[in-house]
């Protein structure tokens, strides 16, 4: 088996062969994320800009070319559907309008309509698990995740309250991916 095929199997163990993820187990979908975004995340796990006991050791073993190939593979997969936990009005407002007093702009300015990604670097949020989104926002807030060189995400996460982080995570987690998203 070639190195890349072995690596792919390793990814698939948690994220699935098509990158559909296993939401209940906390493994986010990666299918259809922009390739440059995915590649950067693998780099970040390797060099410490993102922390994960599972991902970091795996990412460190990959060569740059393998990271690019894996990113391209999962980027070309169809975005999965997602379950529908209860979103909140507060989450919807943060996602589409922001909060003036907190000095936080709407998520959709950069993440696109319905949180569906703006390639090449801004990932989709819609359909990711609320727990995952919450954890990542908290990581941006604490500085454990440093994958946004503009500093925007850290700024936003630092200005949101814990309740707001949960609300916006629930909002995007609640969004149905697929042809009827946004309705």
């Amino acid at each position: 088996m070639s190195g890349i095929a072995a690596a792919l199997l390793l990814c698939a163990g948690c994220h699935g062969m098509s990158g559909e993820g296993r939401l209940e187990a906390g493994y986010p979908p990666i299918a259809g994320q922009p390739p440059a975004y995915l590649e950067r995340q693998l780099e970040a796990y390797a060099d410490g800009r993102r922390e994960s006991a599972v991902m970091s050791p795996l990412a460190k073993r990959l060569a740059a070319e393998e990271r690019a190939q894996l990113a391209a593979h999962f980027a070309s997969q169809k975005k999965p559907g997602a379950p529908v936990p209860a979103g909140s009005e507060r989450g919807r407002i943060l996602a589409t309008l922001g909060d003036n007093a907190l000095r936080v702009q709407a998520c959709q300015n950069c993440h696109g309509p319905g949180g569906t990604a703006i390639p090449p670097f801004t990932p989709y949020l819609a359909g990711l698990h609320p727990d995952y989104l919450r954890r990542e926002l908290l990581a941006f807030r604490s500085g454990a995740r440093r994958t946004d060189p503009s500093g925007q995400m850290s700024f936003i996460a630092q200005h949101l309250t814990a309740e707001d982080i949960a609300a916006v995570a629930a909002h995007y987690g609640a969004r149905l991916e697929g042809d009827r998203a946004g309705h």
């Binding site: 922009p34 390739p35 440059a36 590649e39 950067r40 740059a64 070319e65 990271r67 690019a68 990113a71 391209a72 980027a75 070309s76 300015n109 950069c110 696109g112 309509p113 319905g114 949180g115 569906t116 703006i118 390639p119 090449p120 670097f121 801004t122 819609a126 060189p149 503009s150 925007q152 969004r175 697929g178 042809d179 998203a181 946004g182």
Partner: protein
Amino acid sequence: MKPHDPSRRRLFKAAGATGLAVAVPLPAPAQAPTPTYAFFNAREAAFIEAAVARLIPKDELGPGALEAGVPQFIDRQLAGAWGAGERLYRSGPWRQGTPSQGYQLPFTPAELFRNALRGIDPGFAKMPPEKQDEYLKTLEKEKRDLGGVPSDAFFEALLEATVEGFFADPVYGGNHDMAGWKLIGFPGAYANYYELVDRHNVRFSAPPMSLGAHPMGTK
């Protein structure tokens, strides 16, 4: 820029930077809209449709103003607040000014179009394209009286509205299927280039997005 081809995958590539290639499939373009007019009557619409098709023609580069729904855009603008003189200072006395002093006619945009269109050759839409161009050039260069409107002023308003309708966000009824934006490579309303601005000479050709972009695609 190549003409629009729905079967083609548009590539976003950074020269020399691996990992930046993004393949984004473009949805098939919707049918060109069948115009329904709120302002123009049938005779007026025939002229507008024929005229904008000469101002920005359909050609090997892709759709022109007609295919991009520009007549619909102009119609909606004239039927609404803009046509009624929104943000236009409308007190007299009315005097002819110098070019440096700008628009000095007493007409709102809706009045200007309606009056001028009364004076247009009713056979325009049936003329061959070269004759249409000749006629439009006459309007542009001369001050023929069109229902009280100097033809050069009308031509200027028509050309301005045509360019607006070709490049304004599709939510206004023109720039159908973002044809104007695709022609030049303008990415539209969703815009964050922090990571790209200093990747010099990067070739950016992701599909554009409208204000009305739908979460699952464009419209």
